[in-house]
């Protein structure tokens, strides 16, 4: 059996081992790679950056812990940036565990040294409205009245008693919406209902699997920007100036991608050299 035949018959566990090492070794080095910011991220950050202090930002956390490695870094950066620049956050979730992921981001932001001297008060600077069942129909109801969808916040306070929500009736009182999405319901539903019916200005952070589905919305201007997966999170961290885990893990991801590409090339070369592709074609004929 020649070298290329062996390559074609390689035990897949070797590939797993190489991929694992390609992630672990760079991770242990903790090197931060220099990242360029894509137009998708820049477009979103430009809008976010130009919001004047006091602007009301609606953040919908539509994901759960399995997608946190991809979406939590961008959510952390977005929340921290909002607190630093006096943006008023109205947080909600169409996934049951989304608002709990938001609490993680809030706590991390409040614990950060940059916010040590800043007074961020619940109910005044931010509010967590919690989860509401109903998928896109929740967005639909919010279009007429937020209170219909969220009678109380996550802490049990009545909507009308929360100062930050005093003049917030529906989407017309929201300056910018930010959606972190891992599937259904998520960015697609926010675009279809909030953007296309109520003219909400929307930026989205998506898992990498979902990002290709959101690209047409970006091209059509239905989204102002799109953060795709951990790479999008890393770019957003760099843009906001709060480099953290996603930025550090980019080296691991780069190495892992290089390994996958290498194995794809080796597999295809072996396939061509050993003539298997040709014999398959002949068999098909």
């Amino acid at each position: 059996m020649g070298f290329w035949d062996k390559m074609l018959a390689i035990d897949r566990r070797w590939i797993f081992l190489f991929v694992g090492l390609s992630l672990l070794i760079p991770m242990s080095l903790g090197i931060e790679t220099k990242l360029s910011i894509s137009p998708e991220t820049a477009g979103l950050f430009d809008v976010y950056e130009n919001l004047p202090p006091g602007s009301k930002v609606l953040m919908s956390f539509d994901y759960d812990p399995p997608s946190a490695p991809e979406l939590q870094p961008m959510a952390d950066a977005a929340v921290k940036y909002a607190f630093m620049h006096d943006l008023k956050l109205i947080i909600m979730g169409l996934w049951p565990q989304g608002p709990l992921q938001a609490e993680i981001s809030i706590q991390r932001a409040l614990d950060s040294p940059e916010l040590k001297d800043k007074e961020v008060e619940y109910g005044v600077d931010y509010v967590n409205l919690g989860f509401q069942a109903g998928n896109e129909f929740v967005i639909q109801r919010m279009g007429s009245d937020f209170r219909e969808a969220f009678a109380m916040d996550i802490r049990g306070n009545r909507y009308e008693d929360i100062p930050i929500l005093k003049n917030v009736k529906n989407f017309s009182n929201i300056d910018f919406a930010f959606n972190f999405s891992a599937g259904y319901p998520g960015t697609v539903e926010w675009v279809q209902v909030a953007v296309d019916r109520y003219d909400v200005v929307l930026g989205a952070g998506n898992t990498a699997v979902q990002a290709p589905l959101a690209y047409p919305y970006l091209g059509a201007g239905q989204l102002v920007g799109l953060l795709g997966g951990m790479r999008g999170g890393a770019e957003f961290e760099v843009a906001t100036g709060f480099s953290a885990k996603a930025t550090v893990f980019m080296l691991s991801q780069t190495f892992a991608h290089a390994i996958v590409i290498l194995f794809i090339i080796v597999g295809n070369v072996a396939y061509a050299i050993t003539g298997r592709g040709k014999s398959k074609l002949e068999a098909d004929r």
Partner: protein, 229 residues
């Protein structure tokens, strides 16, 4: 050593699931069974409280109370219809009268189709079609020349969208045999589709790597680091 039972259980289960990469084994099976059981239990409780109680019972009970204590008919009684439809859905569990469940199912399918039709037609249909109708060149300038939209690359990008959309649609047109010019266009469409699938695959790889990074980060920086601190 910083001992946290939750972290140790999480590490045990993470390694159990990862052990499948080597080969199927009892450790993996236990971890998988725990995951499935926990998920089913979590979703049952979540749906019970977030849907059945908060959406149906909390709305229906005050209406029933008003009806039987004060004799008032309130709008909340409409939830009775939803409740009955929900019960009809459960008739699937009884084979002899399982056909009853088709009625609420028909309502759900019909209502969802109607609502989603509008959403998809506008956001994924009309607006996307509108977005593909882009000018390849700008209007005739005062000097008489025809300038590209903003720059050459922008014009080429728009041309690519036009070609990709047209040939992609041709590929999915099966009423005419893919021969001659039509066949050539379909072949070009295939290439566009392959590039699209390749991009999706690339993103999927990135996503899976990110999830693995998340788990490795937990194992190395939370679990192992915790043991030695």
């Amino acid at each position: 050593m910083n001992f946290d039972i939750g972290i140790w259980i999480a590490a045990f289960l993470t390694l159990g699931i990862m052990s499948f990469l080597y080969k199927d084994n009892p450790w993996y099976k236990i971890s998988e069974a725990i995951f499935i059981g926990l998920s089913a239990g979590y979703w049952f409780v979540s749906l019970f409280w977030q849907n059945l109680v908060s959406k149906l019972w909390d709305n229906l009970w005050p209406a029933l109370d008003a009806l039987f204590t004060r004799g008032e008919f309130t709008g909340g009684l409409l939830y009775l219809i939803a409740g009955i439809l929900g019960l009809m859905m459960l008739m699937r569990l009884v084979p002899q009268i399982g056909w009853i469940s088709r009625w609420p199912l028909a309502l759900v399918v019909g209502a969802t189709a109607g609502l989603q039709f509008i959403n998809y037609l506008v956001s994924n249909g009309v607006i996307q079609v509108y977005n593909t109708i882009t000018p390849l060149f700008g209007p005739v300038s005062e000097a008489g020349g025809i300038a590209p939209v903003t720059d050459v690359w922008h014009g080429l990008g728009n041309a690519l969208i036009l070609v990709g959309t047209f040939t992609g649609l041709v590929y999915f047109f099966f009423s005419k045999e893919h021969k001659g010019f039509f066949g050539g266009a379909a072949r070009v469409g295939t290439w566009f589709l392959m590039i699209t699938f390749g991009a999706s695959f690339g993103y999927t790889v990135m996503s899976r790597m990110s999830l693995l990074i998340g788990r490795l980060d937990f194992l190395v920086n939370t679990w192992i680091t915790g043991i030695f601190t």
